[in-house]
């Protein structure tokens, strides 16, 4: 018997004990009707081939291990960034349980969000009563300053009309007439989580600026010196938004972060649960109409929101999740140009430190081959940074990337000698990536937690950058934007490179002559 009180074995070691191994063998042999070993081996090897890759890429209907989620997840991400706001998702309730779990697993934080809990009867008659009761309950129980409504695919398929439903709910007294209930239709069968973010941000902007669904006069824009900032859907939102605020403060820029969820997903353990913390105030959201310009850190997260803002007379500028020297330079120069504030020497010094760090480590990264996958903007930002480091981003894949993204990333690859022979893949999934890694191997893979299966299967070491990150803790607390954030990305990449070098040089009397203490 392996188990004992002095040294408790859990799943990591318990099942490697002989009793269990024997049990597994017997189970397999006698009851599982297993695939013969030779056949298993044959197919395993076959999946590594060019032939398999071709068949795999010929897929038209099946998606395997996609790197994207559905719209309503992004809707919740956006909504929790406003002060004392409860995201209210109209549709089936299981979805909300999923969004809450998903975010809690990534941020290791509570995520508050409610559902209108529609069931069969609502599928037949529509979910109006669910909306009427739901808004009243949420308003009374959780005392939010705002309830932001989005939808699940169920409500979309049956065609519930949010605008009409919210109006009726107000007439029935669910919430006061003047109470803020911005809304967005967020069908899960269109786009991905970044589309949901976009739709909700657009919904919130239109709500506050354009007369609150016909219940208030439209706001008149009186331009001021402020800028608005949208971070987009971002797993590093806690670290990133704080870094951006630091940079703006350093420059003396007046700003409004639209959807600032950096506090609500980073609350202290001090004896109190804060359902609400920080966030963009409703007044700030409304006054954002007067800003001089709006900056989006992620173009593909704000494709619908920016045109609306532009139509109100603001300049809009979009970046693609800038990481690295050039990306940060362009970001800062744009801020400086728009606000007229010079880039302060402290930031110039930070830039120099990043350049110094790259110079220190460049020899270890130069010429290394990478595969990257993730959201469209993140892929662009990481690719640009790798090119800057002299690395080769051989495969760049975005499940939720489209034609516009593909053109952009191909142009980026073409702009650098290090992008030669590199390819981008829009709308493909991680099973496609598996074929790519087998047929055109690379040194490192960059992606979210699900990349660990690719690491295991293909032996490509995974550097975890993306969303979600479930199996490592606290990455989301670090910025990846700005010179400092880029430094974090650099260190994560280097750590993995050095770990691999050590792993490959630590065999006594075989390879440990290269097991250097100075690298």
């Amino acid at each position: 018997m392996p188990q004992n009180a002095d040294n408790v074995l859990d799943h990591f070691n318990l099942f490697r004990q002989p009793e269990y191994k024997e049990m597994f063998e017997n189970k397999k042999k006698n009851f599982e009707n297993p695939v013969p070993d030779a056949e298993l081996e044959r197919v395993r090897e076959w999946t590594k081939t060019e032939e398999y890759r071709e068949k795999n890429f010929a897929r038209e209907a099946l998606t395997v291990n996609p790197a994207k989620a559905c719209q309503p997840l992004g809707a919740v991400f956006a909504a929790v960034g406003f002060e004392s706001t409860v995201p209210f998702v109209h549709g089936s309730q299981g979805c909300v349980a999923y969004y809450r779990s998903h975010f809690s697993r990534h941020f290791k934080e509570p995520t508050s969000c409610v559902s209108s809990s529609m069931t069969e009867d609502a599928a037949v008659f529509g979910g109006l009563n669910n909306m009427i009761d739901g808004l009243a309950n949420t308003y009374n129980m959780y005392k939010p300053k705002m309830i932001a409504v989005s939808t699940t695919c169920m409500a979309e398929v049956i065609g519930d009309d949010l605008n009409a439903f919210i109006k009726t709910s107000k007439e029935k007294g669910s919430v006061p007439q003047e109470y803020d209930v911005p809304f967005a239709h967020t069908p899960a069968f269109v786009g991905s989580h970044i589309t949901g973010y976009d739709n909700v941000m657009k919904g919130i902007v239109e709500h506050f600026w354009d007369g609150k669904a016909g219940t208030a006069p439209k706001l008149e824009r009186v331009p001021n010196e402020k800028i608005n900032f949208f971070g987009g859907f971002d797993g590093y939102t806690v670290g990133n938004l704080r870094e951006v605020k630091r940079i703006f403060n350093q420059m003396g820029v007046e700003y409004t972060i639209m959807g600032d969820n950096s506090d609500v997903w980073d609350t202290p353990t001090d004896g109190e649960f804060r359902m609400y913390d920080g966030g963009t105030t409703l007044e700030e959201a409304a006054n954002a109409i007067h800003a001089k310009a709006t900056i989006s850190m992620q173009e593909f997260c704000t494709e619908k929101t920016l045109p609306v803002i532009k139509a109100h007379g603001q300049e809009v500028v979009a970046f693609n999740h800038p990481i690295g020297v050039k990306g940060t330079d362009e970001f800062l120069m744009a801020i400086s140009r728009i606000t007229g504030k010079p880039i302060p020497p402290e930031l110039t010094k930070e830039r120099g430190r990043l350049v110094d760090a790259i110079a220190d480590s460049s020899a270890h990264i130069h010429g290394k081959k990478f595969a990257i996958y993730g959201d469209p903007d993140l892929c662009l930002g990481l690719t640009a940074f790798l090119l800057e480091l002299g690395a080769e981003p051989v495969h760049v894949l975005s499940t939720n990337g489209g034609k516009a993204w593909l053109e952009k990333i191909e142009a980026l690859l073409a702009s650098s000698p290090f992008g030669k022979g590199c390819h981008a893949y829009a709308g493909k999934d991680l099973w496609h990536m598996r074929s790519l890694l087998f047929t055109e191997p690379v040194d490192f893979l960059i992606g979210n937690t699900y990349g660990k299966y690719l690491d295991r299967d293909t032996g490509t070491p995974l550097i975890r950058i993306g969303f979600p990150i479930f199996d490592r803790h606290h990455y989301h607390r670090y910025p990846v934007w700005g010179y400092q954030g880029s430094m974090n990305v650099l260190v994560w990449i280097l750590d993995k490179i050095f770990d691999e070098i050590d792993r490959n040089t630590n065999v006594v009397a075989k390879s440990d002559y290269s097991f250097d203490i100075i690298r």
Partner: protein, 488 residues
């Protein structure tokens, strides 16, 4: 400080009553009336816990429940390792339930097993408008081509499928025929059906009946049936639970011919009606198919509980009572074999946990099943409730809970937070959505769905881990640091 010594049962009941009254005050009148039926105190001698259950959740209150898809794909079907389970509909559901339940299995993922993969039809607008049946047919073809060693396919419906009138049964039948009688199982587990995960379990059970068992009739077993054949039903092998259970059954002389569904295979499902006895761990999610096998194939079933040594010993004897003396002796030998280890575990951990108060809120089994394990460590359950229990679960709970225990069914975020705030338990056992809420409040917490990434907790080997983890949670130094020394 134990509740029992702190207050009389009468005081306890009065406190619960006042507490329930207080939380109900926040609701609009109609909601308060509805929620009142789900909150109560267990009264000794009553046939159930005095709360209503398995009723629709109220909109907007922050229910913790999931949906039928979660019950079917996430719980029942998903762990069958050599089948491919298609999350049929938009991309989200499959993504959020991708490998998050820790149903451990052994196999070469992507080649002969598929448990930690996400197969989806990733519905686009055109699929909603024109229907997804053609796409489904094509998906099955592509699966056959790229994953030739799969032993079966299940179609796990997401919300839109039932709403747009797709005929997944027709597609499944046609494709099954095309692929020489291959097992292809359409499951109508759309998330809007029913009130929680629970209906999804039931629908999934029925799908096994209709699309696996009924197809098997008259086919011989793959092995020679024996007198001691049992099947483990309703163990999802979270963190290896089914393995640390199976080993005990085998040690007592039984032969486990099948595991449902953790680390399970389609061959094992098919073999199950040949068992002499079905042993049922999660009654809530698999009593339906157990009853069916009893009615149709004459296989008796028995509920058991492998949490904590008291319940394990009781269960081993109960299971053995269905067999001859050889097995009865086997059970006694197993109990004796582990006694020393268990005594050592209790000697080590009980002094550190004695008298600690626990509040639970889990799914459909653990709100009662784990109570014995806590009591084996001298801990006390002061509140419990089910996400998706039915009245028969609350009846069974009466055998576990003490007079005066607070009971909450389909608890809302608000209620649970307030109950914990007022009762101040030493530990809360619930899920990932609740974990960090209570952590912020400074209350030690263990996830009792996923074992907080530890486990197994079932069986004797699992109990040692359970004890270690509860100690780790409650006695972690971090809780003493929650208040800054300069804060009042």
């Amino acid at each position: 400080m134990s509740v029992a010594t702190a207050e009389t049962v009468e005081e306890l009941k009065a406190r619960n009553k006042a507490l329930i009254k207080e939380v109900l005050e926040v609701y609009p009148e109609k909601t308060a009336k509805r929620r009142a039926k789900h909150l109560g105190t267990f009264e000794d001698g009553k046939p159930d816990c005095g709360v209503k259950s398995n009723i629709k959740s109220i909109p907007g209150v922050m229910t913790i429940r999931g949906c039928a898809y979660a019950g079917s794909k996430g719980v029942v079907w998903g762990p069958i390792k050599d089948m491919i389970h298609i999350s049929h509909g938009p991309v989200g559901c499959g993504q959020y339930s991708w490998a998050s339940r820790r149903n451990y299995y052994i196999g070469t993922t992507g080649i002969d097993t598929f448990g930690t993969m996400q197969f989806t039809s990733d519905f686009q607008e055109k699929d909603i408008v024109f229907g997804g049946d053609k796409k489904l047919a094509k998906i099955i073809d592509e699966i056959q081509e790229l994953f030739p060693l799969n032993k079966g396919i299940s179609v796990q419906s997401e919300c839109p499928i039932g709403l747009i009138g797709d005929d997944i049964e027709a597609v499944s039948k046609a494709k099954s025929k095309e692929y020489e009688g291959k097992t292809i199982v359409p499951v109508r587990c759309e998330g809007f059906r029913g009130v929680s995960q629970s209906l999804g379990h039931h629908i999934a059970n029925d799908a096994i009946r209709d699309w696996v068992f009924d197809k098997q009739e008259g086919k011989p077993a793959r092995f020679e049936p024996g007198p001691y054949d049992v099947a483990i039903i309703g163990d999802y092998n979270i963190g290896g639970d089914a393995w640390s259970s199976r080993i005990l059954l085998e040690e007592m002389g039984l032969r486990v011919i099948s595991q449902w569904s953790g680390d399970g295979t389609i061959a094992e499902l098919e073999a199950t009606p040949k068992a002499k006895l079905n042993v049922l761990h999660c009654y809530r999610s698999m009593n339906y198919i157990s009853r069916h096998m009893e009615e149709k194939y004459g296989v008796p079933w028995v509920e058991y509980n492998f949490f904590g040594p008291s319940k394990i010993a009781e269960s081993l004897r109960k299971i053995a009572s269905h067999f001859d003396d050889k097995i009865k002796e086997g059970a006694e030998q197993v109990i004796a074999k582990y006694q020393l280890m268990i005594d050592a575990v209790i000697a080590k951990y009980r002094p550190r946990l004695e008298g600690k108060k626990v509040m639970l809120y889990v799914g459909g089994l653990r709100p009662r099943h784990v109570i014995g394990a806590y009591e084996d460590l001298g801990m006390e359950i002061v509140g419990t409730g089910y996400e998706f229990g039915h009245n028969d679960d609350y009846q069974r709970t009466t055998h576990y809970v003490k007079d005066g225990t607070l009971i909450y069914d389909d608890v809302t975020g608000y209620e649970f937070e307030k109950f914990v705030e007022k009762i101040q338990p030493d530990l809360v056992g619930s899920g990932i959505k609740e974990k960090y809420v209570f952590q912020k409040m400074g209350v030690p917490f263990r996830q009792m769905h996923s074992w907080d990434y530890s486990g197994p907790y079932h069986g004797y080997d699992g109990f040692a881990i359970f004890a270690r983890d509860m100690d780790m949670a409650i006695n972690a130094p971090v809780w003493k640091m929650a208040k800054a020394p300069w804060a009042a």
